[in-house]
Amino acid sequence: MRGGNGKPGIARVGGKWRVCLTIVLFWVAGSRRAAGAGWSERWDSDPGYLNPIDLEISPGGSRLYVVCQESNEVRVVDTRTHEVIGRVKVGLKPEAIALSPDGKTLYVSNEHSDSVTEIDARSLRVRGVLKTGWGPVGLTTDRTGKFLYVANTLENDVSIINLATGHQVKRVETSRFPEYMDLSRSGNHIYVSNLIARLGPYYRPPVSEVTVINTRKQMVSERISVPGVIELRHIAQVPRSAGGYLLIPFMRPKNLNALIQIPQGWYLTHGMAVIWPRHSGGRPRARVTEVLLDDIDHYYADGTGAAVTPNGDWALITAASANVVSIINVARLNRLLQQIPVNDPEALADRLDSARHFVARRLPTGRDPTAVAVSPDNHYAYITNRLDDSISVVNLRSLRIVSTIDLGGPKEITVLRRGEQLFHDARFCYEGQFACVTCHPHGGLSNGLTWSFETPKLGHDLVQNRTLRSIAGTSPFNWNGMNPNLEVQDGPRTEMYIFRSQGFSPSEVRDLTSFVRSLRLPPDPYDDPGGDLTPAQRRGRAIFFRTKTNDGRLIPLHDRCYYCHAPLTHYTSRVQMNVGTATPHDTIQSFDVPQLQGVWMRAPYLHNGEALTLEEIWTKFNAHNQHGFTSDMNKAQLNDLVEFLKTL
């Protein structure tokens, strides 16, 4: 590996002593934990925010069960008095809630505990904790209430748990980052929306997936492709009498265009997928179409929450970064949908004049409205305002916000809180098109797309979106390393190249960067809490730190893994390196060395996202050993190296 000037860079930065020190300190430190911190650690004095992120309404409509992500609890609200009447502690970072069919049991997914808490809905007594896969979020029971389905976001599958025994009976594979799920009205199917698009051919529009699970067979019965979109969110079902389809909010990127080349401004839209599943109506395959929720001159960024009134009159979609709920007249939407030719399902997918036909009202909510639930009598909708610790109450007869329920969070706003609010606020962007969270959803995740941002040359310098998780201490930033710190990255750079609009004030930049620095990777499931590595991981570690080839030749310092990916500095040397991956579309040859922590969940790889898997980095894009000396390795060694990297 060579520096940007084509010369080995090791001589400049310390020679063998540095290498030896690096290895010794790494082994002493034992693992990546030297650089990381636990999820429970807080970066400033946290006054105890709640962050309500999901809610369920009791069958009779008298209670709201609100999942509070930050305080690790469920709070219960009386819908008549709007008072908090109960609370119960759950696991770490609860994300979603489901009710048993009889309404007697609550199930809450705990993303960072890899579990579901089972709660008596009346007494709020915890009955038990069910083990799930990694990173559980969405969940639902089947119609009988005998089985619980839980989406494991970090393993891309769904655990099916027998509630009589509490044990997982099987898992079924989804697409990437399955986040939300919903039981069909017939009870025969479960729909799963996947946040991240499928890993697909390079430089092709993304394709997202709604996975359909047959609850009788407990098998995947269909994988519905939703073309051209990412970040599928909550699922709402329009009753058969009103159309019989699903509504799922999405983001529709134009990442195959250089964004700055759009003469009218930005072009990154938000809308909803309209899906008639295969089993509804005996179709040979699902019918999918897409409709935008944005207006021509103002956008409603990050559609997230979705619900339909039981009578099918209204649908509600929250725009989390616009702090708005759009209320949709379903009958008018149906009229528009009838105009879409069957053979051209994306006919309206880019039309910014659609929403005016069916959006009856845009109502301002609190900050970061994430979920919505409708009362059984069709009269009220309740919206969780995650970053305000409140719930907006919508009267569905007057179509107005009639009340805001204070869930009892602190009134003090800390630096981190302000930063998080800014991170989720699209008003800084041209026409409100997006916020930071739009491209870095779910706690700073990468949305997995390749973009063309910062060049006047159309189609040049395609850049893979990186995660923001645990980037503190990994400066410089940007694929070319041009931004020396987060203040530049999130301030002037974002103003100039990303938002193209009003920039942040200095204090806002400070708050925002504080929040970005606080973003952490989830617990690494590949890492044994006891610190032990598996035999394969140990062999992989030896390869990572090897100094000789398989036939005993000395590997030059700059061709060793740990030279560029130094363990003590988050596995990045924090310089730019030419690893032979530049393409004719790149205007530079050397790229910022990325950190490796959490690399297992960052696919695709390389600066432009060309490598779809870790293996491809070396099998397809390292023909001349510029990205470390790897050509002597056999397949088993490469597998071992990958196993070790997954522990970082």
Binding site: D157, R171, E173, V212, V220, E615, N639
Partner: protein, 386 residues
């Protein structure tokens, strides 16, 4: 008259033996009706390498794609154009828990789930090699036999493990077949014999020709008949694994080997491409027909077209007659003609669907059905010497 008497006595003895063994040792089924799938009814041309029943569906791996039969009709032929890793499909395994279908192809491993293929290749995953000959599902794990060793894929964590000549006692890592139980994994290695992995102990145990040569064993039941093993099957009822080689059939009961050659058994040919087992039956897929060996009654039954010698690789039977050759433990044989036949004599694999069998041949897929009345008539004719 004397011949009839001897034959009757033989059958009577057999029936007495069968009765002595109890209901677990019935006479082997006789397949008298064959339905063939060839290009004439929409099936792709060429070899059929494997077949896997899946409820009312049947998956067949061919030289020209993966075929899905539903209710006796060709529903779809999947190829690389549909996302399959390779057009030549060597193995198929259905995960009964998830419904996913795992496809081993010359081009990689494919997972068919919910109507979509997801591929794993040597370059993009931990797959040892893109020539995938065998695949088997064991709970959350998928075991894969490739031309460069054995893989285990953890469908939960995504981890890949490889065993080959560098970390396991593989004389040759070219693996042709794989079979799994809850406790063990059985691998057929071409030139490397049989390897058995103990899941609890995490170790491999090799079984090779004791002569250490590329000739067959010197003594009949000395050990694995030959190191060129083309297929492997485990029989839970007999507690035996069976290995097909290009030089005969071997079975191992944990203590003793049981080897079979054409010269001293009813095996149609020593050149065996695959072996499968069901109940007390062992099915050897040979180049000269499909041979079934009933381990308890020691009866051999071979199925093939009547005109099998005239068939060549480019020709399949359409509606020609077939023949059943029954070989008794005392070495006597009897040949019976049936109106229908297997599509070809060159048998590449076989699978079971209830009492029915599905046979992969060099020129088409055959569905074998027992006709109870016809079966009884045939056995009666043996008894009565009609």
């Amino acid at each position: 008259m004397r011949l009839r008497l001897v034959q009757s006595l033989r059958i009577a003895t057999l029936l007495i033996l069968a009765a002595a063994c109890g209901a677990a040792a019935p006479l082997p089924p006789l397949y008298t009706q064959w339905i063939n799938y060839t290009p004439a009814n929409g099936f792709p041309p060429g070899e059929v390498y494997c077949v896997a029943p899946d409820g009312n569906r049947v998956w067949a791996g061919t030289a020209n794609g993966l075929v899905l039969l539903e209710n006796g009709r060709v529903k779809k032929v999947f190829t690389t154009a549909d996302g399959l890793a390779g057009d030549a499909v060597m193995s198929v395994a259905v995960d009964k828990m998830t419904g996913d279908v795992w496809v081993g192809a010359l081009g990689g491993l494919s997972r068919y789930s919910g109507g979509r293929f997801k591929n794993y290749t040597n370059l993009s995953s931990g797959l040892a090699n893109d020539l995938v000959y065998g695949v088997a599902v064991q709970g959350r794990y998928v075991w894969v036999a490739t031309a460069a060793g054995v893989n285990r894929f953890d469908t939960y964590s995504g981890d890949w493990s490889i065993w080959n000549e560098t970390n396991a006692p593989f004389n040759e890592p070219w693996c042709y077949g794989i079979a799994v139980t809850k406790k063990k994994v059985y691998v057929a290695a071409w030139g490397g014999g049989v390897l058995v992995y103990d899941l609890a102990g995490h170790y491999w145990k090799p079984y090779t020709d004791p002569d250490h040569s590329m000739e067959i064993v010197l003594y009949r039941n000395e050990g694995l008949i030959h190191n060129i093993v083309s297929g492997i099957a485990y029989n839970p009822e007999l507690h035996m694994f069976w290995a097909s080689t290009y030089f005969g059939l071997s079975g191992f009961d944990g203590r003793n080997w049981h080897n079979y050659l054409t010269k001293d058994s009813g095996l149609a040919s020593n050149f065996i491409s695959a072996v499968q087992s069901r109940g007390s039956e062992v099915w050897a897929c040979t180049q000269k027909g499909l041979s079934e060996f009933d381990y308890k009654t020691k009866i051999w039954v071979t199925y093939r077209p009547v005109n099998w010698r005239a068939l060549d690789a480019a020709k399949a039977v359409k509606d020609g007659p077939g023949e059943i050759i029954m070989s008794w433990p005392d070495g006597k044989k009897r040949k019976i003609e049936t109106p229908t036949s297997l599509a070809h004599n060159y048998i590449l694999n076989v699978a079971f669907q209830g009492k029915d069998i599905w046979v992969a041949t060099a020129q088409g897929l055959s569905h074998g059905i027992v006709e109870p009345q016809q079966e009884k008539k045939l056995y009666d004719s043996f008894t009565n010497g009609r």
